[in-house]
Symmetry: none
Subunit: 190 residues, 4 copies
DNA sequence: GATGAATGAGAATTCATTCAT
DNA sequence: AATGAATGAATTCTCATTCAT
């Protein structure tokens, strides 16, 4: 059901693909999506041709980076949902999403896309996460840990916005914590 | 009060400048900063040459747009600060800043930059606003309307992030209100 | 009915456009359509940007070259049709078309397109010529100068093929004449 | 008779070579020479590496395809020359050459080249055919079936041009026949 | 020998900025 | 001052060919 029989990929090819993905994640995150493909290839130690063999389009590369992020988020979220109380699961997951989404704004916006459009491959991952978030939200609301008037739409907006906030605070941990405090407090019922 | 002796600028030139600024604001806000200068000039009904006579660089144009926004915000903020109670002034101003900052994210981010780097002309406007915000924050904290542990840094992050949230909700007024509720609630002392 | 009000075009711009068209015609004809746009621009003494300002696509440039050729052919054909006897008009026109169509084969094929597909701008010119050819053919058949079993389709094939023949003979005038003799003889009723 | 000591070639290698040649002929003929080598290899069920092992250059592959065509033509021509009257042999051979040469024009032109430049391996095949054609032409002229003023040069041009004509008519058999009629009639003495 | 991943030199096209008109 | 044509560096993507597996 999930498409093409993926052949194991030669060792070196797999290495290159991984390196490209890693470099692209780093570069897109810190310097935005405007960075030339050539530069990414170079940073990964391969030729442009190789980059384009693995990702037929710059957009495809961007998409792959996003999917990986989303998958990480989904996995973490699933783990939290299974292991923690509804309230802790919800707030823990909120942090995970926010932390995984930080990076140069322009790029973070893409995550935004998860809540709206997004290209085919993203759709799936994004759907999964949305479903998880909806569950967590409902659970937390059930036990009275989160105000009942919020929907998935608002939650996503809050997540994306909080990511932006964190991007602004950089590594100032205490400040980040204070802002999380503000948002989390606001999320709780009065 | 500020540097260069500005020649009065011929009437038509002033008109062109104003039109360009208006169009650029609209275009950058709705379609992002990637829009070609040519297109902006065209939409303003002038040639590219004219655009570049008024703004020596695309970046300069962007900067001018930002300054105008910041000035609007500063004026509104000043008015609110003068007319309202500290608490109302603070929260009213928060809304003003957020509303004025919305638009295509990529661009909103730029505003964000105002809190960090920014080119010379922005610095000034941004300083003014920061000073106003600092005052409003202090006032609101004094009367116990806002938690005392927040600093200007956090406030700016919260403003930018809330703008992002609003961008995501678009024109869904009730949802926007619920999100404002969350943030404002979080800002108040427990 | 024939589209946009064309502004007179500045003197230098017109000169550049003409030069580009001339160079492109020459280059495409002698070296085929694979020649890089950059080279054409260079040969015309302008930057690539200028080429693309005048012709938004390489294909557009090719098309423009073709249209000009077709227009020349149409004009010549019209003149001959008006001034000469049906038979002379037909055979004279046949020579004109063949001569104007010669050049590096790959490109000549394009003329072929005139008889089949072709992009929008070509369509019109090609239609005109086809109509003219159909008239000339009918006229020549009426006076018994051309075998009556031939249609426009065959005529076009014969024209294109004869062009190819001439391309092969280059400037060997007597040989060209002998081949024209063969074709013309074949065209006449037995 | 010809140069290098050719190793017998392993059975599978021979099969691959044959498959590549067949596919290349098909592909070049129907879609032109611009088709990527990778695609040809894929269609033949081998990797690009294999293609390049058999044909060190794309041009070499093209050349091989041409040689095969020329050899087919030469064989057919020889058969006709041996079995038929001079006139029938000449005209029959004309048809064979034309039919074998049709296909996507761009490619047909290459065959044309056989009459002019061409790389080493082509030279030989092309020479053979030219000699055959010269003989057939002379024979047909001797018996008064073809105008005496035509030389080999003109004959080749006529062959190539007629191929182009046929390419234009596609599979419209009656039209093809009418065009053959024109050319054959033209070839006969008045 | 076969494979297909890697390479990198182009090629077409865009767009900020300059400058002749 | 205004105009818009010209410029050319930069960017994305392709494809013949090489080479490690």
């Amino acid at each position: 059901m999930s498409g093409a029989q993926e052949r194991p990929l030669r060792a070196d090819a797999a290495r290159n693909r991984a390196k490209l993905l890693a470099v692209a994640t780093e570069v897109f995150t810190t310097r935005g999506v405007g960075v030339p493909t050539e530069e990414i290839a170079q940073a990964a130690g391969v030729g442009v041709g190789t980059l384009f063999r693995h990702f037929p389009t710059k957009e495809a590369l961007l998409s792959a980076v996003m999917v990986r992020r989303l998958e990480t988020i989904a996995a973490e979220t699933a783990r939290l949902a299974a292991e923690a109380e509804p309230a802790d699961a919800f707030f823990g997951c909120f942090r995970v999403v926010v932390d995984q989404s930080s990076g140069k704004s322009e790029f973070t916006q893409a995550l935004a896309a998860a809540g709206v459009d997004a290209h085919a491959p993203l759709q799936e991952s994004s759907m999964v996460i949305q479903a998880q978030l909806a569950d967590l939200l409902a659970g937390a609301q059930q036990v009275g840990a989160v105000r009942p008037d919020l929907g998935l739409l608002e939650l996503i907006a809050l997540l994306v916005g909080t990511s932006t906030m964190m991007d602004h605070l950089g590594t100032d941990a205490p400040a980040r914590e204070r802002v999380f405090d503000v948002v989390f407090d606001g999320l709780r019922p009065r």
